[in-house]
Symmetry: C2
Subunit: 353 residues, 2 copies
Amino acid sequence: MNTEGGKISVGRWMQEVGPEGDVALSSRVRLARNLEHLPFPNRAADDQLRQIQGQVDRATRQQPIPELAQVRSIDLSDYPALEREVLVERHLISPLLAQHPLYRSVILQPDETLSVMVNEEDHVRIQAIVSGLNLEEALGIAQRVDDFYAQRLDIAFSSELGFITACPTNLGTGLRASVMLHLPGLVMTGAIRQAVEAASQMHLAVRGLYGEGSNALGNIFQISNQITLGRTEKDIVRSLEVATRQLVGQERAARQALLNQAQTALDDRVNRAYGLLRFAKAISSEEAMRLLSDVWLGMDLGLLPASDKAAWRSLLIIIRPATLQKLAGRELEPAERDRFRAGIIREQLARNG
Amino acid sequence: MNTEGGKISVGRWMQEVGPEGDVALSSRVRLARNLEHLPFPNRAADDQLRQIQGQVDRATRQQPIPELAQVRSIDLSDYPALEREVLVERHLISPLLAQHPLYRSVILQPDETLSVMVNEEDHVRIQAIVSGLNLEEALGIAQRVDDFYAQRLDIAFSSELGFITACPTNLGTGLRASVMLHLPGLVMTGAIRQAVEAASQMHLAVRGLYGEGSNALGNIFQISNQITLGRTEKDIVRSLEVATRQLVGQERAARQALLNQAQTALDDRVNRAYGLLRFAKAISSEEAMRLLSDVWLGMDLGLLPASDKAAWRSLLIIIRPATLQKLAGRELEPAERDRFRAGIIREQLARNG
């Protein structure tokens, strides 16, 4: 991450507002792959892990396709803990990888659209992330990278089970697709519970911002497929997209209902949130997410001037603890962090309204 | 009240920041006087009340001194209830007079420095109000007006008891002096209780903004003398001034202590208050007072840019319910009032920072 000319760089998916961008923040596709004749990472010896890293790195450098042309490979073994945590906050590696970095790597595209984790739960996990609701684009990127590696690596595949993965829940396609949704309307009207139940019945998982077990901070939810086997990649992605479009419609209806029934209260709420973000001198991550959610909603509903929506969105990542400390250039005590966070938010807003 | 060129006019004491103006908002002196041979207002017949109004009005017009040169006399009998309430909010008449307006008048100087209530508890109550801690100036104005009336009206005076008043607590000088103080430091540090007790021991009364029984909204307190008899006007005013200077010193020490011990928290608090006042779309009178108190404190401590302090002070009066409705030009439901109040505050801040 750089701060270029005072602007803090974030992944491309955060710099744009994509399709259905009033509700859908991002679409992500991940493909799990493993090499033949080598044990899964949790059973592999150190030299085997190193061997896997080496094979993937060498393959990556062989006449790479555009998706891989500018990547850099980071060996996490000697990468600082704070930097690893930054990668987690930017959704580029998993917490698991950050916690167990020895003989693990990540291959990163500078615009953060593509990342390849090496020796996470599986040998290779290809991830593509794009703005808005655009699962097909994310799938396309991941598949092109997958094809590339399939031609250069000996990928474990069974004609019966499909791709072999460390965990049986990933067997078959090895595909996990997910969409990050901002659902303040469903939360405020209380309709979220029913929506989550409906999604479960469609074999979809609904979780908070940073995956399983995390709360829905800032009214942000991740919806993803649970079934990986017995269906094609396109089918899996399409049914997630259908379910997501339903949720998007429900969210918009909920927002409209709030606007019709309680416009003044809503207007007051979103403007207060803006005022607090603009002027607070210390702010916790949780409060900031709550207020950011209100401001995004206000912009989407025309209650706040929709200045640079993407800049507002990017604060979601920028205010996370590790990213903040990286920006500060040093470790920060929690109280310092709250002050620094408030300062970063004020600066961004001074620039972007 | 006018809104001249978008600026809402307030009394002169609100347009200026007077001596010790970081703590002392205003100084007020009131003299209670009665006419000989006429019963006190609460026992007077209607024609007697009219007679008193007439006598005072005629006297006022006889070669008036500068303090009375531009006054207008308002017969409250046929003055609208909302307008009477506005006068109460501007500290120009008492709630008693507003509630029982028949055959009652107020004689008003346009800059609101001087007002004379006719047929309140006493026949004549002369009130002078000035900015900051400046009781001598207020006393001077009230005494010059008192001398003026003494030469033209037959004022009840006993060589033993002094000026005769309806209530024995006003006997002697008929003088009530009071100072309005902003004491957020003493409230936040909890030292206010001890300060109030100390004041009581000096025979001073400490009350909230709108007199007896009212809460200390916005951390604003009124401190006034309780003894009127057996001492000269100058003595009474001087001992109130001494006590007030002590309180001012204690308040400043408390603010400094807060600044030393909790600058970040204080900085955050006052800036948040500013942000909310600047952006809220609906705001109750109580919340507005609380936030204004924080903003004033922030300006006094240099935590907020001290733009137009007096304009910020004047909001104290402008946001009161009746004044607001007068500004709106119509009655407002409480919810409408909260919206209108927020709008007025935003407008003022857009003008004055």
